[in-house]
């Protein structure tokens, strides 16, 4: 009854502000928008038959060139710059852009739009790897060597050349230095052996693997923020002064600067995509010039390596200001007040009517962006519950999990939580995956309380207490506790779920839990059920092996430990889980065809296991864009951390009309 009331409120709200929700476009990249540009000028000219006009630059930079403070644009650009294809039109130079950042410590999401560039990138379809910093790549025949071709004459934002030395520094002095990196990460150790990295010449780097390793490409293409500065290359000319190999006095200097070791000192100077680091040169379209208490100030990078189809050096906009919003509530307020020129991230579909109402006063337009999450909230049922063994046995019973899933009225959830904009869905692979099977998304999602009750009766939970709640098979009372991390899933979601589960006689209690405490409990196993989005489900993120859920994270702490320690610790899982875990460990190192077959088998096992109970997926998120801002793709992904933030809406293309 309570949720019916809530539903009415939502409907009324929509009616009163006169909103009709737009249908969300298909996210298959249909339409005529350019998916990407060209790796080099030569490729652009060959593909279009046009000649690229002479290079042009922002008037702001021309002034500096005339004053002799900057070399001319031809010298600042690489010999072969990347030619980007503007989304709508060739833009105009100038102006400033206000974006958001989470906190002073978290430069996200603005930092990803401004300073983030990876070796390779993704086209707007989110699946095709394209050149970016590197102008090309080459696998040998059996996939055991991978060659990266860099751009001759490319420069860092301070004018220093960007070349193979910047990758070699990262590899030899960061990754292979055991003071900084105790173990080489497994994604750089295919077959259990660290790959070999060699500098072929100043602009060519070759990686050699013990076994074929095709997933190295998505692993350097911004998928889950990989292949960027701090992840595969570094501003070596700048960082050397903080590295003991190049500066014997660094230990002393670190102490003077207030650090305990030179490793911490170096760590504080490195670029990381998720934070704001002053002083370090970047290769992104903008560079940090100042951090202020309100946020970050960024100016254009005069050495940025991309031009548009008219030969204009990108970006168009001179200055970016990122202001801190701290939490989702404040963010929504600031968006409504028109404080941001563009913001599409960490928003909630429930705020859509509010955003629409503020459109005129805030001088912005609202759009709905598609999502890659197959569940906005999926409830992980702990298979290694550390509490009462009889409770643990119930959680491990597949009939129990099916009953929980059948009891949910996902259409109603969709109306209440997502204004009807989502899709009732199981927590599984994203439907855009090339190997996707429809049954994965629809398994056990029908609303069937009778079947749910029948399953629970079969389990021996047919006896009930005075209030009508089911007793355990041994006759003792049973309570299902949802540990609810309120900023991980939509507000009220868990209360709604509780009502459905109460309705089939499963006494459900919602306990608010701090997110950090929850993460600890995901390790210790002291929880029964917890809700979290089904993220990381897009094809490439799954393929490079970073989907934690397929490693039993969140739903089976002991099995997850067993997996992570390769059997040394934790408990050995049952055969189906074991098969899934072992297959998934090999996935990144498989040839593409084998990989598809393996992932199909993995998601088949996943479907039957039902360890995470999905609710509604592909719930679009509202975004806002200031009127008059050009080249904005409103069909962009917002929760696209899975595929690398910033690879869809290219802020360096934005311009003021």
């Amino acid at each position: 009854m309570k949720h019916l009331l809530r539903l009415m409120c939502v409907v009324l709200l929509c009616v009163t502000v006169g909103v009709s929700l737009p249908a969300v476009q298909a996210q298959d990249g249909s339409g005529e928008k350019p998916l990407w540009g060209w790796a080099t000028v030569a490729e652009f000219e060959a593909a279009t038959g046009q000649t690229l006009p002479p290079y042009n630059e922002s008037p702001m930079l021309t002034e500096l060139v005339n004053q002799g403070k900057l070399p001319p644009v031809e010298e600042r650009l690489p010999l072969e710059p990347l030619v980007d294809n503007p989304f709508e039109a060739v833009g105009k130079y100038g102006g400033r852009l206000t974006l958001g950042q989470v906190s002073a410590g978290i430069g996200y999401p603005a930092s990803n739009f401004t300073t983030f560039e990876s070796l390779f990138s993704l086209a707007r379809d989110g699946n095709t790897v394209v050149p970016n910093i590197a102008k090309g790549w080459e696998f040998n025949e059996d996939g055991t060597t991978f060659t990266i071709f860099l751009r001759e004459g490319m420069r860092w934002s301070d004018g220093d050349p960007f070349d193979a030395d910047d990758i070699m520094f990262y590899w030899e002095d960061i990754i292979l230095n055991t003071d900084i990196t105790p173990n080489v990460p497994s994604r750089f150790s295919p077959g259990g052996e660290p790959m070999k990295v060699e500098k072929v010449d100043q602009y060519t780097v070759r990686l050699t693997f013990a076994i074929p390793y095709y997933a190295i490409l998505p692993n350097l293409s911004s998928v889950v923020f990989t292949g960027c500065q701090g992840d595969f290359f570094e501003a070596s000319h700048y960082l050397k002064q903080f590295h003991i190999k190049y500066n014997p006095n660094v230990e002393q200097e670190a102490k003077e600067a207030g650090f305990e070791t030179w490793v911490q000192y170096l760590g504080s100077k490195r670029y990381f995509w998720w934070r704001v680091t002053e002083g370090v040169p970047t290769v992104g379209p903008w560079m940090v010039v100042e951090t202020v208490p309100e946020g970050t100030v960024m100016d254009r990078n005069p050495y940025y390596f991309k031009v548009d189809t008219a030969g204009n050096q990108l970006p168009y906009i001179d200055r970016v200001i990122a202001t801190i919003f701290n939490d989702a509530g404040t963010l929504a307020l600031k968006m409504v007040a028109g404080e941001y020129d563009y913001q599409d991230w960490s928003t909630s579909v429930a705020d859509y009517p509010v955003f629409v109402e503020g459109q005129e006063q805030g001088n912005y337009t609202v759009f709905m962006a598609p999502s890659l999450w197959t569940s906005i909230a999926a409830y992980s049922v702990n298979q290694n519950y550390a509490g009462d063994p009889a409770d643990a046995e119930i959680l491990r019973d597949i009939r129990f999990r099916r009953a929980l899933s059948y009891s949910l009225d996902r259409d109603e959830i969709n109306q209440i939580i997502a204004l009807g904009q989502g899709t009732p869905f199981q927590a599984t692979a994203h439907p855009s995956s090339s190997y996707y099977k429809e049954e994965w998304g629809t398994a056990y999602i029908e609303f069937n309380p009778d079947l749910a009750n029948q399953l629970l009766d079969e389990m021996g939970m047919d006896k009930r207490d005075g209030e009508g709640f089911r007793l355990r098979p041994d006759g003792k009372p049973f309570s299902l506790i949802i540990s609810d991390v309120n900023d991980a899933i939509p507000e009220k979601m868990s209360e709604l779920i509780k009502e459905y589960w109460d309705a089939i006689g499963v006494r459900t209690i919602v306990t608010p839990t701090d997110r950090t405490l929850m993460t600890e409990q995901f390790g210790s196993g002291e929880y029964m059920v917890s809700g979290w989005a089904m993220d990381g489900a897009a094809e490439l993120a799954v393929a490079i092996g970073v989907n934690g859920y397929l490693q039993a994270w969140q739903w089976a702490p002991q099995w997850n430990t067993w997996y992570a320690s390769r059997g040394a610790q934790g408990e050995e899982p049952p055969a189906d889980v074991k098969r899934m875990l072992e297959l998934y460990r090999e996935v990144p190192f498989m040839a593409p065809d084998d990989q598809q077959a393996a992932l199909t088998e993995i998601w088949d096992i996943w479907k039957e296991g039902l360890w995470r109970i999905g609710t509604i997926g592909m719930v679009p998120k509202p975004g806002i864009v200031r009127n008059g801002l050009g080249n904005v793709d409103t069909n962009t992904y917002t929760d696209n951390a899975d595929v690398g933030i910033g690879t869809f809406n290219r802020h360096y293309q934005f311009y003021w009309k």
């Binding site: 002073a104 410590g105 998720w274 989907n547």
Partner: protein, 328 residues
């Protein structure tokens, strides 16, 4: 007096050591450390991060050290005037605090001035015109001011400012001035943003002060010495300011000590609501993020200021009120 001050300084040193231990333990109490809190925060906001990368970072943040060792490093640096560095900002704590000091002190000093300027005259008026219409009006307003939480007031004023004056209220100046050098326009813009925080932060203090002042003054006004002075023909105004008011001011002086830490931190909740770049929100965020050295250092400075402030008000009281000197 000299002995008294030296003894008190000794207590302060001991208390500071205890505060450093307790605050360090409390900051470490929540589960996990800065890095895990950080990663979780990214995770709930939808960023998938490779677990391996995070583990590799522990050493670069010095979080692989046992807490006892972290404590001693921090304290030995503190003694040398080095507050360590902030994990969140990857910058020295000292810089972060100094950066926020002008705004913090500016708002605080203004607020205190406004508080005194409003509260003292009204308090005196209310006491000397007890049960008059003016007294009732001020009393009524005063109780409202005391009972409405200041953050709520901040929210209401922000809404009104936004709705009717088209004022972007949060912050010290409009977003378009962030990162721009100071010029006349930016200064004027800041002046427009100042009244709301100053009024809101000042208001709760003001109303409290009015009540205290009115109460003590009423006690004094009816004392025999006042009647005697009046009988001797002293002018009413001179009489009032020279004797009862001087005594009624005592509660003000004994709370001067609290002003010092309050000036340093600013009003935390109001500053968060109004998005003011002061030290208060810095502390709040540092505690939430388990940014150990930043939070610990601010707590230490606050404690130091509280202790010194109390000492100062004790000394001031002794100077201002001869009775206290004699009792000692």
């Amino acid at each position: 007096m000299g002995h008294f001050i030296i003894r008190r300084l000794g207590y302060i040193a001991i208390l500071l050591v205890l505060v450093s231990i307790v605050s360090f333990i409390i900051i470490q109490l929540p589960p996990g450390d800065w890095l895990s809190a950080y990663v979780t925060r990214l995770r709930v906001q939808g960023a998938t991060i490779n677990e391996e990368i995070i583990q590799g970072l522990k050493r670069q943040y010095g979080l692989d050290q046992p807490p006892v060792r972290q404590y001693f490093t921090w304290v030995s640096n503190l003694v040398q005037g080095d507050f360590g560095y902030s994990f969140s900002y990857s910058r020295p704590v000292k810089d972060l605090i100094i950066e926020r000091l002008p705004a913090t002190l500016g708002i605080s000093v203004l607020t205190i001035l406004v508080t005194y300027l409003i509260a003292i005259p009204i308090g005196i008026y209310s006491a000397t015109h007890q049960y008059s219409v003016g007294d009732y009006v001020f009393t009524f307003l005063g109780f409202i001011g005391l009972s409405v939480p200041s953050f709520l007031l901040a929210l209401i004023l922000m809404f009104l400012g936004y709705k009717y004056f088209d004022l972007s209220v949060g912050g010290l100046y409009s977003p378009q001035y962030i990162g721009e050098p100071w010029d006349w326009d930016k200064f004027v813009d800041m002046l427009w943003h100042l009244p709301i925080p100053v009024l809101i932060i000042g208001l709760s203090g003001t109303t409290g002060l009015i009540r205290v002042l009115r109460g003590t003054l009423l006690d004094e006004i009816h004392r025999p010495y006042v009647d005697t002075a009046r009988a001797k023909g002293l002018r009413e105004r001179v009489l009032l300011y020279r004797y009862p008011v001087r005594i009624a001011i005592n509660p003000l002086i004994s709370t001067v000590g609290w002003l010092l830490p309050a000036m340093f931190s600013g009003q935390v909740i109001v500053s968060i609501v109004l998005n003011l770049p002061t030290v208060g929100p810095l502390l709040y965020e540092a505690l939430r993020a388990q940014d150990t050295y930043l939070a610990g250092s601010i707590v230490m400075i606050l404690s130091l200021f509280t202790l010194i402030g109390t000492l100062i008000s004790d000394i001031l009281l002794a100077i201002v009120d001869p009775r206290i000197r004699i009792e000692e």
